[in-house]
Protein backbone atom coordinates (compact mmCIF):
# COMPACT_ATOMS: atom_id res chain seq x y z
CA UNK A 1 0.00 0.00 0.00
CA UNK A 2 1.19 3.50 -0.80
CA UNK A 3 0.22 6.65 1.13
CA UNK A 4 0.19 10.01 -0.66
CA UNK A 5 0.47 12.97 1.69
CA UNK A 6 -0.27 16.68 1.21
CA UNK A 7 -2.83 15.88 -1.47
CA UNK A 8 -5.05 18.73 -2.62
CA UNK A 9 -8.76 18.03 -2.47
CA UNK A 10 -10.40 18.62 -5.85
CA UNK A 11 -13.86 19.36 -4.55
CA UNK A 12 -14.64 22.85 -3.29
CA UNK A 13 -12.90 26.22 -3.25
CA UNK A 14 -11.31 25.50 0.14
CA UNK A 15 -8.66 23.45 -1.69
CA UNK A 16 -7.61 21.69 1.53
CA UNK A 17 -4.11 20.43 0.76
CA UNK A 18 -3.48 18.14 3.73
CA UNK A 19 -5.28 15.01 2.57
CA UNK A 20 -3.69 11.60 2.96
CA UNK A 21 -4.73 9.15 0.31
CA UNK A 22 -4.09 5.44 0.73
CA UNK A 23 -3.71 3.56 -2.52
CA UNK A 24 -3.43 -0.16 -3.04
CA UNK A 25 -2.95 -1.65 -6.52
CA UNK A 26 -4.04 1.58 -8.17
CA UNK A 27 -7.21 1.68 -6.08
CA UNK A 28 -7.98 4.35 -3.51
CA UNK A 29 -8.85 2.55 -0.32
CA UNK A 30 -8.94 5.36 2.20
CA UNK A 31 -8.78 9.16 2.45
CA UNK A 32 -7.77 10.87 5.67
CA UNK A 33 -8.34 14.49 6.75
CA UNK A 34 -10.97 15.08 4.07
CA UNK A 35 -14.56 16.16 4.70
CA UNK A 36 -17.47 13.97 3.61
CA UNK A 37 -17.65 15.70 0.23
CA UNK A 38 -13.96 15.37 -0.57
CA UNK A 39 -13.80 11.81 0.70
CA UNK A 40 -16.89 10.98 -1.32
CA UNK A 41 -15.28 12.24 -4.49
CA UNK A 42 -12.05 10.26 -4.02
CA UNK A 43 -13.90 7.07 -3.17
CA UNK A 44 -16.50 7.23 -5.93
CA UNK A 45 -14.36 7.94 -9.00
CA UNK A 46 -14.92 4.43 -10.28
CA UNK A 47 -18.70 4.81 -10.42
CA UNK A 48 -20.72 5.86 -13.46
CA UNK A 49 -17.52 6.26 -15.35
CA UNK A 50 -17.42 7.29 -18.98
CA UNK A 51 -14.97 4.73 -20.32
CA UNK A 52 -15.16 5.05 -24.10
CA UNK A 53 -15.45 8.06 -26.37
CA UNK A 54 -18.98 8.41 -27.69
CA UNK A 55 -20.19 9.92 -30.94
CA UNK A 56 -23.78 10.53 -31.87
CA UNK A 57 -24.84 8.62 -34.98
CA UNK A 58 -28.45 9.00 -36.12
CA UNK A 59 -29.46 10.32 -32.76
CA UNK A 60 -27.81 7.50 -30.80
CA UNK A 61 -24.55 7.69 -28.86
CA UNK A 62 -22.21 4.95 -30.03
CA UNK A 63 -18.77 4.02 -28.80
CA UNK A 64 -15.79 5.01 -30.87
CA UNK A 65 -12.04 5.37 -30.40
CA UNK A 66 -10.20 8.44 -29.20
CA UNK A 67 -8.66 9.18 -32.57
CA UNK A 68 -12.04 9.33 -34.29
CA UNK A 69 -13.59 11.38 -31.49
CA UNK A 70 -10.75 13.91 -31.70
CA UNK A 71 -11.06 14.00 -35.48
CA UNK A 72 -14.78 14.62 -35.25
CA UNK A 73 -14.26 17.37 -32.63
CA UNK A 74 -11.68 19.16 -34.77
CA UNK A 75 -14.00 18.99 -37.76
CA UNK A 76 -16.90 20.38 -35.71
CA UNK A 77 -14.81 23.28 -34.39
CA UNK A 78 -13.54 24.07 -37.87
CA UNK A 79 -17.06 24.04 -39.30
CA UNK A 80 -18.54 26.05 -36.49
CA UNK A 81 -19.31 29.69 -37.11
CA UNK A 82 -19.39 30.56 -33.41
CA UNK A 83 -18.14 27.95 -30.94
CA UNK A 84 -18.52 28.55 -27.22
CA UNK A 85 -15.94 27.06 -24.85
CA UNK A 86 -17.48 26.71 -21.43
CA UNK A 87 -16.94 25.19 -18.01
CA UNK A 88 -13.55 24.97 -16.26
CA UNK A 89 -14.68 24.83 -12.64
CA UNK A 90 -13.25 21.33 -12.42
CA UNK A 91 -10.41 21.63 -14.92
CA UNK A 92 -6.76 22.41 -14.28
CA UNK A 93 -5.26 25.74 -15.30
CA UNK A 94 -3.24 23.89 -17.92
CA UNK A 95 -6.45 22.67 -19.58
CA UNK A 96 -8.01 26.12 -19.35
CA UNK A 97 -5.05 27.65 -21.21
CA UNK A 98 -5.53 25.21 -24.08
CA UNK A 99 -9.23 25.99 -24.32
CA UNK A 100 -8.50 29.70 -24.45
CA UNK A 101 -6.07 29.04 -27.26
CA UNK A 102 -8.83 27.18 -29.12
CA UNK A 103 -11.26 30.03 -28.58
CA UNK A 104 -8.66 32.53 -29.81
CA UNK A 105 -7.83 30.39 -32.86
CA UNK A 106 -11.44 29.76 -33.80
CA UNK A 107 -12.84 33.22 -33.12
CA UNK A 108 -15.32 31.84 -30.61
CA UNK A 109 -16.32 32.66 -27.09
CA UNK A 110 -14.81 31.45 -23.82
CA UNK A 111 -16.73 31.62 -20.60
CA UNK A 112 -16.35 29.87 -17.28
CA UNK A 113 -18.84 28.72 -14.69
CA UNK A 114 -18.17 31.75 -12.52
CA UNK A 115 -20.74 33.37 -14.79
CA UNK A 116 -23.35 31.36 -12.89
CA UNK A 117 -21.82 31.64 -9.42
CA UNK A 118 -19.60 34.58 -8.54
CA UNK A 119 -19.87 36.48 -11.84
CA UNK A 120 -21.70 39.28 -10.03
CA UNK A 121 -18.80 39.38 -7.54
CA UNK A 122 -16.46 40.08 -10.43
CA UNK A 123 -18.78 42.78 -11.77
CA UNK A 124 -18.94 44.35 -8.32
CA UNK A 125 -15.17 44.18 -8.05
CA UNK A 126 -14.75 45.90 -11.40
CA UNK A 127 -16.88 48.77 -10.19
CA UNK A 128 -15.43 49.11 -6.71
CA UNK A 129 -12.33 46.98 -6.15
CA UNK A 130 -12.33 44.63 -3.17
CA UNK A 131 -10.51 44.69 0.18
CA UNK A 132 -9.40 41.09 0.55
CA UNK A 133 -6.73 38.82 2.01
CA UNK A 134 -5.61 35.22 1.98
CA UNK A 135 -7.40 32.86 4.35
CA UNK A 136 -4.44 32.65 6.74
CA UNK A 137 -4.82 36.34 7.60
CA UNK A 138 -8.23 35.52 8.99
CA UNK A 139 -6.96 32.49 10.85
CA UNK A 140 -4.21 34.53 12.51
CA UNK A 141 -6.01 37.82 13.15
CA UNK A 142 -9.80 37.83 12.80
CA UNK A 143 -11.78 38.33 16.01
CA UNK A 144 -15.01 38.75 14.05
CA UNK A 145 -16.09 36.44 11.23
CA UNK A 146 -19.30 37.04 9.30
CA UNK A 147 -20.80 34.50 6.89
CA UNK A 148 -23.38 36.16 4.65
CA UNK A 149 -25.54 34.15 2.27
CA UNK A 150 -23.37 31.08 2.51
CA UNK A 151 -23.52 27.82 4.37
CA UNK A 152 -19.99 26.44 4.74
CA UNK A 153 -21.06 23.59 7.03
CA UNK A 154 -22.77 22.00 4.02
CA UNK A 155 -20.94 23.49 1.03
CA UNK A 156 -17.38 24.02 2.34
CA UNK A 157 -17.31 21.67 5.33
CA UNK A 158 -13.74 22.32 6.57
CA UNK A 159 -13.84 26.08 6.06
CA UNK A 160 -14.77 26.96 9.62
CA UNK A 161 -12.07 24.67 11.01
CA UNK A 162 -9.17 25.50 8.69
CA UNK A 163 -9.75 29.18 8.03
CA UNK A 164 -12.75 30.32 10.03
CA UNK A 165 -14.04 30.65 13.60
CA UNK A 166 -12.76 27.26 14.76
CA UNK A 167 -9.23 27.73 13.47
CA UNK A 168 -6.35 28.77 15.67
CA UNK A 169 -3.80 31.38 14.67
CA UNK A 170 -0.85 33.39 15.93
CA UNK A 171 -2.69 36.35 17.40
CA UNK A 172 -6.19 34.93 17.82
CA UNK A 173 -6.57 31.41 19.08
CA UNK A 174 -9.67 29.29 18.77
CA UNK A 175 -13.41 29.77 18.77
CA UNK A 176 -13.60 31.51 22.18
CA UNK A 177 -11.56 34.46 21.05
CA UNK A 178 -13.67 35.06 17.95
CA UNK A 179 -17.23 36.23 17.41
CA UNK A 180 -19.16 34.55 14.64
CA UNK A 181 -22.12 36.07 12.81
CA UNK A 182 -24.31 34.39 10.21
CA UNK A 183 -26.74 36.23 7.98
CA UNK A 184 -29.06 34.10 5.90
CA UNK A 185 -32.65 33.53 4.87
CA UNK A 186 -32.85 30.23 6.77
CA UNK A 187 -31.36 28.99 10.01
CA UNK A 188 -28.78 26.78 8.30
CA UNK A 189 -26.45 24.39 10.15
CA UNK A 190 -23.83 27.15 9.92
CA UNK A 191 -26.22 29.55 11.61
CA UNK A 192 -26.59 27.23 14.58
CA UNK A 193 -22.84 27.64 15.26
CA UNK A 194 -23.01 31.42 15.33
CA UNK A 195 -22.96 33.85 18.25
CA UNK A 196 -25.36 36.01 16.32
CA UNK A 197 -27.77 34.82 13.64
CA UNK A 198 -29.59 37.49 11.70
CA UNK A 199 -32.37 36.12 9.55
CA UNK A 200 -33.22 38.25 6.54
CA UNK A 201 -35.88 38.00 3.88
CA UNK A 202 -34.90 36.75 0.43
CA UNK A 203 -33.93 39.60 -1.89
CA UNK A 204 -33.47 42.09 0.95
CA UNK A 205 -29.66 41.92 1.17
CA UNK A 206 -29.07 45.19 -0.64
CA UNK A 207 -31.25 47.13 1.78
CA UNK A 208 -29.72 45.46 4.83
CA UNK A 209 -26.16 46.05 3.62
CA UNK A 210 -26.91 49.66 2.82
CA UNK A 211 -28.51 50.23 6.21
CA UNK A 212 -25.50 48.68 7.93
CA UNK A 213 -23.21 50.92 5.93
CA UNK A 214 -25.17 53.96 7.01
CA UNK A 215 -24.84 52.90 10.64
CA UNK A 216 -21.12 52.23 10.27
CA UNK A 217 -20.82 55.77 8.96
CA UNK A 218 -22.58 57.08 12.09
CA UNK A 219 -25.81 57.98 10.32
CA UNK A 220 -29.14 57.56 12.09
CA UNK A 221 -31.89 55.52 10.50
CA UNK A 222 -35.32 57.15 10.74
CA UNK A 223 -37.13 53.80 10.76
CA UNK A 224 -37.70 51.07 13.30
CA UNK A 225 -36.87 48.21 10.99
CA UNK A 226 -35.31 47.52 7.60
CA UNK A 227 -37.08 44.85 5.60
CA UNK A 228 -38.21 43.15 8.77
CA UNK A 229 -34.93 43.43 10.66
CA UNK A 230 -35.11 45.71 13.72
CA UNK A 231 -32.71 48.64 13.50
CA UNK A 232 -31.54 47.84 17.04
CA UNK A 233 -30.25 44.52 15.77
CA UNK A 234 -28.48 46.22 12.86
CA UNK A 235 -26.94 48.72 15.25
CA UNK A 236 -25.65 45.89 17.38
CA UNK A 237 -24.05 44.28 14.33
CA UNK A 238 -22.57 47.57 13.08
CA UNK A 239 -20.99 48.11 16.49
CA UNK A 240 -19.56 44.61 16.47
CA UNK A 241 -18.01 45.30 13.10
CA UNK A 242 -16.51 48.64 14.08
CA UNK A 243 -15.17 47.29 17.36
CA UNK A 244 -13.52 44.25 15.82
CA UNK A 245 -9.75 44.46 15.63
CA UNK A 246 -9.83 42.45 12.42
CA UNK A 247 -13.09 41.54 10.76
CA UNK A 248 -13.75 39.19 7.89
CA UNK A 249 -16.81 38.87 5.69
CA UNK A 250 -17.30 35.62 3.79
CA UNK A 251 -20.11 35.84 1.30
CA UNK A 252 -21.77 33.33 -0.97
CA UNK A 253 -24.32 32.83 -3.66
CA UNK A 254 -27.01 34.17 -1.33
CA UNK A 255 -25.73 37.57 -2.39
CA UNK A 256 -24.76 36.94 -6.01
CA UNK A 257 -27.77 34.95 -7.13
CA UNK A 258 -30.62 36.85 -5.56
CA UNK A 259 -32.29 40.01 -6.69
CA UNK A 260 -29.83 42.82 -7.23
CA UNK A 261 -26.96 40.47 -8.10
CA UNK A 262 -23.83 42.62 -8.57
CA UNK A 263 -25.48 45.52 -6.74
CA UNK A 264 -25.62 43.36 -3.61
CA UNK A 265 -21.89 42.78 -3.96
CA UNK A 266 -21.24 46.46 -4.50
CA UNK A 267 -23.16 47.23 -1.33
CA UNK A 268 -21.09 44.65 0.56
CA UNK A 269 -17.83 46.04 -0.84
CA UNK A 270 -18.86 49.58 0.06
CA UNK A 271 -19.61 48.43 3.61
CA UNK A 272 -16.26 46.68 4.05
CA UNK A 273 -14.41 49.55 2.38
CA UNK A 274 -15.95 52.01 4.81
CA UNK A 275 -15.17 49.74 7.75
CA UNK A 276 -11.49 50.05 6.83
CA UNK A 277 -11.67 53.72 7.75
CA UNK A 278 -12.40 52.58 11.32
CA UNK A 279 -10.69 49.22 11.67
CA UNK A 280 -9.29 46.38 9.59
CA UNK A 281 -11.84 44.45 7.54
CA UNK A 282 -11.52 42.07 4.61
CA UNK A 283 -13.91 40.02 2.49
CA UNK A 284 -13.56 36.77 0.56
CA UNK A 285 -16.08 35.17 -1.80
CA UNK A 286 -16.88 31.53 -0.98
CA UNK A 287 -15.98 30.06 -4.35
CA UNK A 288 -17.67 26.75 -5.06
CA UNK A 289 -15.69 24.49 -7.38
CA UNK A 290 -12.05 23.81 -6.63
CA UNK A 291 -10.64 25.70 -9.60
CA UNK A 292 -13.26 28.23 -10.60
CA UNK A 293 -10.92 30.87 -9.16
CA UNK A 294 -8.13 29.51 -11.37
CA UNK A 295 -10.37 29.85 -14.41
CA UNK A 296 -10.81 33.54 -13.60
CA UNK A 297 -7.06 33.97 -13.10
CA UNK A 298 -6.01 32.26 -16.35
CA UNK A 299 -8.71 34.06 -18.36
CA UNK A 300 -7.53 37.36 -16.90
CA UNK A 301 -3.83 37.01 -17.58
CA UNK A 302 -4.31 35.68 -21.09
CA UNK A 303 -7.15 37.93 -22.22
CA UNK A 304 -7.47 40.76 -19.70
CA UNK A 305 -10.94 39.66 -18.60
CA UNK A 306 -11.99 37.10 -15.94
CA UNK A 307 -14.89 35.54 -17.88
CA UNK A 308 -17.28 36.21 -20.79
CA UNK A 309 -14.53 36.68 -23.41
CA UNK A 310 -15.52 36.88 -27.05
CA UNK A 311 -12.87 36.47 -29.79
CA UNK A 312 -15.13 36.92 -32.81
CA UNK A 313 -13.46 40.20 -33.79
CA UNK A 314 -9.98 38.66 -33.52
CA UNK A 315 -9.24 40.13 -30.09
CA UNK A 316 -10.71 39.72 -26.60
CA UNK A 317 -13.99 41.55 -26.09
CA UNK A 318 -15.89 41.60 -22.83
CA UNK A 319 -19.45 42.58 -22.11
CA UNK A 320 -21.29 40.30 -19.67
CA UNK A 321 -24.93 40.10 -20.64
CA UNK A 322 -23.85 40.15 -24.28
CA UNK A 323 -20.71 37.98 -24.30
CA UNK A 324 -21.83 35.59 -21.54
CA UNK A 325 -22.47 31.92 -22.29
CA UNK A 326 -26.02 31.85 -20.94
CA UNK A 327 -27.06 34.89 -22.95
CA UNK A 328 -25.35 33.70 -26.13
CA UNK A 329 -27.15 30.35 -25.85
CA UNK A 330 -30.47 32.00 -24.97
CA UNK A 331 -30.20 34.17 -28.09
CA UNK A 332 -29.39 31.12 -30.21
CA UNK A 333 -26.10 32.57 -31.44
CA UNK A 334 -23.74 29.67 -30.91
CA UNK A 335 -23.71 26.52 -32.99
CA UNK A 336 -21.18 24.53 -30.96
CA UNK A 337 -20.74 24.23 -27.23
CA UNK A 338 -17.44 22.74 -26.07
CA UNK A 339 -17.66 21.77 -22.41
CA UNK A 340 -14.97 20.76 -20.00
CA UNK A 341 -15.11 20.55 -16.22
CA UNK A 342 -18.82 21.38 -15.99
CA UNK A 343 -22.29 19.87 -16.39
CA UNK A 344 -24.45 22.70 -17.73
CA UNK A 345 -27.39 20.44 -18.58
CA UNK A 346 -27.85 19.77 -14.85
CA UNK A 347 -27.16 23.28 -13.65
CA UNK A 348 -28.50 25.80 -16.10
CA UNK A 349 -32.16 26.82 -16.23
CA UNK A 350 -34.29 24.40 -18.21
CA UNK A 351 -35.02 27.13 -20.73
CA UNK A 352 -31.33 27.27 -21.64
CA UNK A 353 -30.94 23.48 -21.75
CA UNK A 354 -33.85 23.37 -24.23
CA UNK A 355 -31.95 25.80 -26.47
CA UNK A 356 -28.99 23.41 -26.47
CA UNK A 357 -30.98 20.92 -28.53
CA UNK A 358 -30.12 23.01 -31.60
CA UNK A 359 -26.45 23.22 -30.70
CA UNK A 360 -23.67 20.69 -31.29
CA UNK A 361 -22.21 19.55 -27.98
CA UNK A 362 -18.69 18.32 -27.29
CA UNK A 363 -18.04 17.20 -23.73
CA UNK A 364 -14.86 16.14 -21.95
CA UNK A 365 -15.78 14.51 -18.66
CA UNK A 366 -14.61 11.64 -16.47
CA UNK A 367 -18.14 10.45 -15.74
CA UNK A 368 -21.51 10.05 -17.37
CA UNK A 369 -23.50 13.19 -16.69
CA UNK A 370 -26.75 14.53 -18.10
CA UNK A 371 -24.63 16.72 -20.39
CA UNK A 372 -22.75 13.68 -21.67
CA UNK A 373 -26.08 12.05 -22.50
CA UNK A 374 -27.00 15.03 -24.68
CA UNK A 375 -23.59 15.26 -26.36
CA UNK A 376 -22.67 14.83 -30.01
CA UNK A 377 -19.14 13.89 -28.97
CA UNK A 378 -18.15 12.85 -25.46
CA UNK A 379 -14.55 12.08 -24.61
CA UNK A 380 -13.64 10.46 -21.29
CA UNK A 381 -10.82 12.08 -19.35
CA UNK A 382 -8.99 11.46 -16.11
CA UNK A 383 -10.16 13.04 -12.86
CA UNK A 384 -7.77 15.97 -12.46
CA UNK A 385 -6.38 16.10 -8.94
CA UNK A 386 -6.80 12.33 -8.53
CA UNK A 387 -5.68 10.75 -11.81
CA UNK A 388 -3.84 13.74 -13.29
CA UNK A 389 -1.78 16.62 -11.94
CA UNK A 390 -2.06 20.34 -12.61
CA UNK A 391 -2.58 23.72 -10.97
CA UNK A 392 -5.63 25.03 -9.11
CA UNK A 393 -6.36 28.30 -7.26
CA UNK A 394 -7.98 28.38 -3.85
CA UNK A 395 -10.91 30.76 -3.23
CA UNK A 396 -8.45 33.41 -1.99
CA UNK A 397 -6.20 33.15 -5.04
CA UNK A 398 -3.51 30.92 -3.51
CA UNK A 399 -2.19 28.67 -6.29
CA UNK A 400 -1.68 25.01 -5.44
CA UNK A 401 -0.59 21.83 -7.08
CA UNK A 402 -3.10 19.12 -7.94
CA UNK A 403 -1.52 15.71 -7.50
CA UNK A 404 -1.98 12.45 -9.30
CA UNK A 405 -2.44 9.53 -6.89
CA UNK A 406 -3.73 6.79 -9.19
CA UNK A 407 -3.67 6.02 -12.91
CA UNK A 408 -6.84 6.61 -14.88
CA UNK A 409 -8.61 3.55 -16.34
CA UNK A 410 -6.77 2.06 -19.31
CA UNK A 411 -6.91 4.14 -22.47
CA UNK A 412 -8.11 7.28 -20.72
CA UNK A 413 -5.95 10.40 -20.98
CA UNK A 414 -5.86 13.59 -18.97
CA UNK A 415 -7.88 16.51 -20.30
CA UNK A 416 -4.63 18.29 -21.12
CA UNK A 417 -3.48 15.41 -23.31
CA UNK A 418 -6.81 15.25 -25.13
CA UNK A 419 -6.89 19.02 -25.63
CA UNK A 420 -3.31 19.05 -26.91
CA UNK A 421 -4.33 16.60 -29.62
CA UNK A 422 -7.23 18.81 -30.63
CA UNK A 423 -5.28 22.08 -30.55
CA UNK A 424 -2.42 20.64 -32.59
CA UNK A 425 -4.82 19.84 -35.40
CA UNK A 426 -6.58 23.17 -35.25
CA UNK A 427 -3.39 25.13 -35.84
Amino acid sequence: MEVFKNVLCPFCGCCCDDLEVEVDSNKIINVKNACALGRGKFLSIGEHRLLKPLVKVDGELVETDLEKAVEKTVEMIKNSSYPVFYGFGCASCEAIKLCLEMADLSGGLADNISVVCHGPTILGLQDMGIPSATLGQIRHRADLIVYWGCNPVEAHPRHTIRYGPLSSGRFVTGRKSRRMVVIDVRKTPTATMADVFMQVKPNSDFEILTALRALVNDLDLEVEEVDGVPVAKLEELADMMINAKFGALFFGLGLTMSYGKEHNIEAAIALVRDLNKKTKFVMIPMRGHFNVTGANEVFTWQTGYPFCVDFSMGYPRYNPGETSAVDVIARGECDLLFIIGADPCSHLPHYIVERLKNVKLVVLDPSITPTVKMADVAIPVAYVGIEASGTAYRMDGVPLQLRKVVDPPPGILSDVDVLNRIVRRLK
Binding site: H48, P189, V326, Y351
Partner: protein
Protein backbone atom coordinates in the same frame (compact mmCIF):
# COMPACT_ATOMS: atom_id res chain seq x y z
CA UNK B 1 -61.12 27.07 -2.29
CA UNK B 2 -57.99 26.90 -4.40
CA UNK B 3 -55.01 26.62 -2.15
CA UNK B 4 -52.57 28.61 -4.27
CA UNK B 5 -49.96 30.52 -2.36
CA UNK B 6 -47.26 32.88 -3.54
CA UNK B 7 -43.85 32.06 -2.12
CA UNK B 8 -40.20 32.86 -2.62
CA UNK B 9 -38.05 29.98 -3.86
CA UNK B 10 -34.40 29.75 -2.88
CA UNK B 11 -32.23 27.09 -4.50
CA UNK B 12 -28.84 26.16 -3.14
CA UNK B 13 -26.27 23.58 -2.20
CA UNK B 14 -26.65 21.04 0.55
CA UNK B 15 -24.34 18.41 1.92
CA UNK B 16 -26.60 15.60 0.68
CA UNK B 17 -26.80 17.18 -2.75
CA UNK B 18 -23.01 17.45 -2.87
CA UNK B 19 -22.62 13.80 -1.89
CA UNK B 20 -25.31 12.70 -4.32
CA UNK B 21 -23.68 14.66 -7.14
CA UNK B 22 -20.40 12.87 -6.63
CA UNK B 23 -22.11 9.48 -6.50
CA UNK B 24 -23.84 10.25 -9.80
CA UNK B 25 -26.49 12.55 -11.07
CA UNK B 26 -28.47 9.46 -12.01
CA UNK B 27 -28.26 7.99 -8.52
CA UNK B 28 -31.27 7.58 -6.25
CA UNK B 29 -29.42 9.59 -3.63
CA UNK B 30 -29.16 12.62 -5.94
CA UNK B 31 -32.77 12.33 -7.10
CA UNK B 32 -34.01 11.91 -3.55
CA UNK B 33 -32.40 15.14 -2.50
CA UNK B 34 -33.07 17.29 -5.57
CA UNK B 35 -36.71 16.32 -6.09
CA UNK B 36 -37.93 17.58 -2.75
CA UNK B 37 -38.98 20.97 -1.51
CA UNK B 38 -38.40 22.14 2.06
CA UNK B 39 -41.20 24.21 3.59
CA UNK B 40 -41.77 26.04 6.81
CA UNK B 41 -44.15 23.93 9.00
CA UNK B 42 -46.62 26.82 9.24
CA UNK B 43 -46.75 27.09 5.48
CA UNK B 44 -47.42 23.37 5.30
CA UNK B 45 -50.47 23.69 7.50
CA UNK B 46 -51.55 26.78 5.60
CA UNK B 47 -51.42 24.70 2.41
CA UNK B 48 -52.85 21.70 4.25
CA UNK B 49 -50.09 19.51 3.00
CA UNK B 50 -48.41 16.72 4.92
CA UNK B 51 -44.87 15.44 5.04
CA UNK B 52 -43.99 13.58 1.84
CA UNK B 53 -47.06 14.73 -0.05
CA UNK B 54 -46.85 16.19 -3.50
CA UNK B 55 -46.63 19.84 -4.25
CA UNK B 56 -46.86 21.77 -7.48
CA UNK B 57 -44.51 24.72 -7.83
CA UNK B 58 -44.91 27.06 -10.77
CA UNK B 59 -42.88 29.99 -11.94
CA UNK B 60 -43.02 32.12 -15.04
CA UNK B 61 -40.76 29.55 -16.70
CA UNK B 62 -42.23 26.23 -15.78
CA UNK B 63 -43.99 24.00 -13.36
CA UNK B 64 -42.87 20.96 -11.39
CA UNK B 65 -44.31 18.47 -8.96
CA UNK B 66 -42.04 17.51 -6.08
CA UNK B 67 -42.29 16.06 -2.62
CA UNK B 68 -42.90 18.43 0.29
CA UNK B 69 -40.81 18.02 3.45
CA UNK B 70 -40.67 19.95 6.64
CA UNK B 71 -37.67 22.25 6.76
CA UNK B 72 -35.03 21.60 9.40
CA UNK B 73 -34.02 25.22 9.17
CA UNK B 74 -37.33 26.86 10.05
CA UNK B 75 -38.80 29.29 10.72
CA UNK B 76 -38.76 30.88 7.31
CA UNK B 77 -42.41 31.52 6.47
CA UNK B 78 -43.08 32.29 2.84
CA UNK B 79 -39.72 30.90 1.75
CA UNK B 80 -39.22 27.45 0.24
CA UNK B 81 -35.91 25.75 -0.42
CA UNK B 82 -34.78 23.28 -3.07
CA UNK B 83 -31.32 21.80 -3.68
CA UNK B 84 -29.70 22.57 -7.04
CA UNK B 85 -30.69 19.96 -9.56
CA UNK B 86 -32.76 19.16 -12.62
CA UNK B 87 -36.13 19.84 -10.95
CA UNK B 88 -35.54 23.33 -9.74
CA UNK B 89 -33.95 24.22 -13.09
CA UNK B 90 -37.40 24.07 -14.62
CA UNK B 91 -38.37 27.06 -12.54
CA UNK B 92 -35.27 29.23 -12.55
CA UNK B 93 -35.16 32.20 -14.84
CA UNK B 94 -32.78 32.49 -17.79
CA UNK B 95 -32.96 36.27 -17.43
CA UNK B 96 -29.46 37.54 -16.58
CA UNK B 97 -30.26 41.24 -16.24
CA UNK B 98 -27.19 41.99 -18.30
CA UNK B 99 -24.88 40.18 -15.88
CA UNK B 100 -24.58 36.75 -17.50
CA UNK B 101 -26.09 35.23 -14.34
CA UNK B 102 -29.55 33.65 -14.42
CA UNK B 103 -31.77 34.07 -11.36
CA UNK B 104 -31.40 31.04 -9.12
CA UNK B 105 -32.41 32.51 -5.81
CA UNK B 106 -35.24 34.62 -4.54
CA UNK B 107 -37.60 33.55 -7.32
CA UNK B 108 -41.32 34.31 -7.09
CA UNK B 109 -43.32 31.10 -7.40
CA UNK B 110 -46.82 29.80 -6.81
CA UNK B 111 -47.25 26.72 -4.68
CA UNK B 112 -50.25 24.40 -4.42
CA UNK B 113 -50.87 20.90 -3.10
CA UNK B 114 -51.48 18.20 -5.70
CA UNK B 115 -54.54 16.08 -5.16
CA UNK B 116 -53.98 12.33 -5.25
CA UNK B 117 -56.35 11.92 -8.17
CA UNK B 118 -54.53 14.46 -10.23
CA UNK B 119 -51.20 12.84 -9.48
CA UNK B 120 -52.24 9.38 -10.62
Amino acid sequence: MVNLVKMILVSGRSLEQGLGKEASKFSKRYIDVTAVCQLDPEDMSRLSIGEGESLRISSQHGSIIVKAVKSKHAPHPGVIFMAYGPWVNNLTSPETHGTGMPSFKGLEVEVEPVKTAERS
